[in-house]
């Protein structure tokens, strides 16, 4: 009898798309025939655009089925069992599909995501079968310096956005003579549009724990804290399970792995919802139970961190890379990438793209390769206008610069930043003024209020952008915007304030004409800013059905004696209700 393994992708996005219903349904069927096939859980493999996903392993081949229902999955399994053949409906990945269909998976290079969507994250044994916890055993007799040298050789930089060399942080903390030190995993993934860290925590929690244990050995820490957003309940649950399993096996606790004198334990701190807590010093304040407000550096956390003790703070993706670097060798990691940016980077690709999801590529890959060759371009074939990198701290890379390679310096040259890995694709229907306003609304409300320029300056900028999008902008406003932006950048203490004006500056740099269209022509080229959209009824298309007139909340539609409708311009509040209602495409926007 052939082996049939069925795995359901139960990440929080998969569950939202219906994966739990598939699993529950399959569990019932499986009970009737448990010998014939096996049913397992896994996490998201990153093919988010086809969720929910069901992975089927059959005769050593992997088949992934997507956009599928519980009953559809049942039929797929039956087909395998009865005919020994993979059905082609719902198939999204298989070596039997044309190569172009598999580009999304095959063009990726997975280091950080290597276990995500492969193992069951709730079983420590599966992590161990993939070589898990071998890295700790490998380094058990290494000196702290040797571990740090190895990480230094890999060239690994902080993946949370800072891009600071991981080994440098570690070495500084390692040199401190204090007896108690901390390793903190920063899982306060706050950038809107980014979900790399959530996926790693949900899909490979042991990988993060192992990375923290190695960091602990390298700097001489005895305690680890995972600071995780409360908005990620499933990630917190999976990490909690992983910690308990690791404690049971004595991979956490006292004299761990049987190494005498190596004590290390990890606990979770739930964030309480403040974007600024992604900043190291604010995160420390939050762990200490205070308002999460940043403080001046130096002293750096590696010297004086949580409770004034030396503290290393690393991002989730940085930490999950550590065991793989130790196992596969730093030189192999450093072989990937560019001169100054080594290894791989995970991106969360969303927006107006055909295949949105998680993508891991070597540094040095052009952005266009990621968007077109892996993610298939835009969903509707529209032209790409820009790609936003780095969320509210970043900026846009316009279409003509999409051949820019993924490298810290190359991206900074465009005015954006590498950031933590959010990549939002925008097409012609996205208004760049609106996007700039969106990010500023976010940073403005997340500003902790400590520095005046960040607290009030961002508000003034936001007011100006609101003025522009409502059609009341003046051309001088652009100058004031730029002036305020520079003042905020140079007069704010932490990264939040220093980078808050970036989205506006980068939009002004590449899309000044759109700002001018809003101000001078009083028109929004992307037809997004409702105050600047005019509606008109085409007399030759109007059938006189009265639907638009009924739905208009402002009595702004009248009809003539032939029952042909007309919008009364001065009454129209530009809500667009008539446009939505008309079934005859008789209402046009301009």
């Amino acid at each position: 009898m052939s082996q049939l393994r069925v795995k359901v992708g139960l990440g929080s996005c998969g569950i939202a798309a219906g994966a739990q219903r598939i699993y529950d349904h399959l569990e019932l069927i499986h009970q009737k025939n448990p010998e014939q096939w096996s049913l397992e859980k896994t996490n998201c493999i990153g093919i988010c655009y086809s969720e929910p996903l069901v992975h089927i392993e059959f005769n050593d081949e992997l088949y992934i089925y997507g956009n599928i229902t519980p009953v559809g999955t049942e039929q797929v399994i039956e087909s395998f069992l009865q005919h020994n053949t993979p059905p082609s409906a719902f198939l999204v990945y298989s070596s039997q599909l044309p190569a172009s269909e598999n580009d999304f998976i095959n063009n990726q290079v997975k280091w950080a995501l290597k276990n995500c969507g492969i193992i069951n994250p709730e079983k420590i044994e599966e992590y161990e079968q993939m070589g898990g916890y071998q890295a700790v055993l490998k380094i058990q007799k290494w000196s702290p310096d040797r571990i740090i040298d190895e990480i230094e050789k890999s060239g690994l930089k902080g993946r949370g956005g800072g891009g600071f060399l991981t080994a440098t942080k570690w070495r500084l903390a390692s040199k401190q003579t204090k007896k108690n030190k901390y390793v903190i995993c920063n899982a306060d993934e706050g950038d809107p549009g980014a979900f790399m860290d959530r996926s790693i925590l949900e899909g490979d929690p042991h990988g993060v724990l192992e990375g923290m244990i190695i960091a602990g050995k390298a700097i001489g820490a005895t305690k680890g804290i995972i600071y995780c957003r409360a908005e990620y309940p499933l990630a917190i649950k999976r990490v909690q399970i992983a910690i308990e399993q690791a404690r049971e096996k004595n991979y956490l606790g006292k004299n761990i792995f049987g190494i005498r004198g190596f004590d290390f334990d990890i606990y979770i701190k739930e964030g309480a919802g403040a974007f600024v807590c992604g900043e190291e010093t604010a995160l420390i304040a939050s762990i200490e139970g205070k308002r999460g407000m940043p403080s001046k550096r130096p002293p750096f956390p590696a010297i004086k961190g949580v409770w004034d003790l030396p503290t290393v703070i690393n991002n989730v993706e940085t930490l999950v890379n550590i065991p793989t670097i130790i196992n596969k060798g730093a030189e192999n990691y450093a072989r990937l990438g560019t001169e100054k940016a080594k290894g791989t980077k995970v991106f969360a690709i969303t927006g107006k793209v055909k295949k949105s999801g998680l993508v891991e590529v070597p540094m040095g890959t052009p952005i266009s390769t990621v968007i077109y060759d892996i993610c298939g371009g835009t969903a509707n074939g529209n032209k790409i206008k820009a790609v936003q990198l780095g969320g509210p701290s970043g900026g846009c890379v316009p279409a003509h610069l999409l051949d820019t390679i993924i490298d810290y310096d190359a991206i900074i040259e465009t005015g954006a930043i590498m950031g933590s890995g959010g990549m939002v694709v925008m097409d012609e229907s996205t208004c760049m003024v609106d996007v700039a306003k969106f990010f500023l609304t976010f940073t403005q409300s997340e500003s902790c209020g400590k520095c005046t320029f960040c607290r009030i300056g961002t508000l003034r900028m936001l007011e100006i952008l609101e003025k522009i999008t409502s059609g009341e902008g003046e051309i001088e406003d652009l100058e004031i915007l730029e002036d305020l932006a520079l003042e905020i950048q140079s007069n704010s203490l932490c990264g939040l304030g220093q980078s808050a004006p970036n989205p506006v500056l980068s939009a002004l740099k590449y899309f000044r004409d759109e700002f001018e269209a809003h101000i001078i022509d009083k028109r929004c080229p992307a037809l997004q800013c409702s105050a600047l959209i005019r509606y008109e009824i085409l007399a030759d298309r109007c059938v006189g059905c009265y639907q638009c007139r009924k739905v208009c909340p402002a009595n702004a539609i009248e009809s003539n004696d032939r029952r042909i409708h007309r919008i009364i311009e001065e009454n129209c509040i530009r809500c667009g209700a008539c446009y939505e209602k008309c079934r005859f495409d008789a209402i046009v926007r301009s």
Binding site: C13, A17, G190, G273, G289, K290, T350
Partner: protein, 172 residues
């Protein structure tokens, strides 16, 4: 989408009826835990769905943390509510991906259907409406979270039918 400051942060002037002994137990439990203020507030909120005003005085008395400090922390973090919340909290994602996929429509639809604004609770204490920065389900944009359940790829109709389903389940 009209993004308002969380109206839930309006301080209550009147003391509300709560089980004081339960509150005392939680607070006394946290004596001597360093950095315990945030987890303590989280526990109180888990118990009462919000931080009752009496809590701040009790924390001052029992743990010697001044009211100004505990109230300062409670008002700093968006997680903490100073007014009772409904049985279900509807979190509408206003992340980038959801924003470009028209999350404002979802917000407007729910807000109109339930007749509440961001930060408010329905009269029947069933729903509280909240805007959150990102739920991390960007490929399912626009997405919302009700309780601990996430829903994605919504439009203004499907989201109302989800809420109606909860309403009919609750009325039984």
């Amino acid at each position: 989408m009209h993004i308002e400051k969380n109206t839930n942060k309006n301080l209550q002037s009147t003391e509300c009826q709560i089980d004081i002994s339960a509150l005392e137990t939680i607070i006394k439990d946290c004596k001597g835990v360093s950095g315990g203020l945030i987890p303590l507030l989280q526990r109180i909120q888990d118990q009462f769905t919000f931080i009752p005003p009496q809590a701040f005085k009790l924390i001052d008395k029992e743990l010697n943390i001044p009211e100004s400090e505990s109230l300062g922390v409670a008002t700093f973090y968006t997680q903490f509510k100073l007014n009772p919340t409904g049985k279900y909290t509807i979190k509408i994602c206003k992340g980038t991906a959801c924003h470009v996929q028209n999350a404002s429509k979802i917000f407007d639809a729910i807000s109109e259907y339930l007749q509440i604004k961001a930060g408010e609770t329905t009269d029947d204490q069933l729903f509280t409406l909240e805007l959150v920065s990102c739920l991390g389900c960007c490929s399912l944009a626009p997405a919302i979270m009700i309780g601990e359940e996430t829903y994605g790829k919504l439009d203004d109709r499907s989201v109302i039918s989800i809420i109606k389903e909860i309403q009919s389940r609750e009325s039984k």
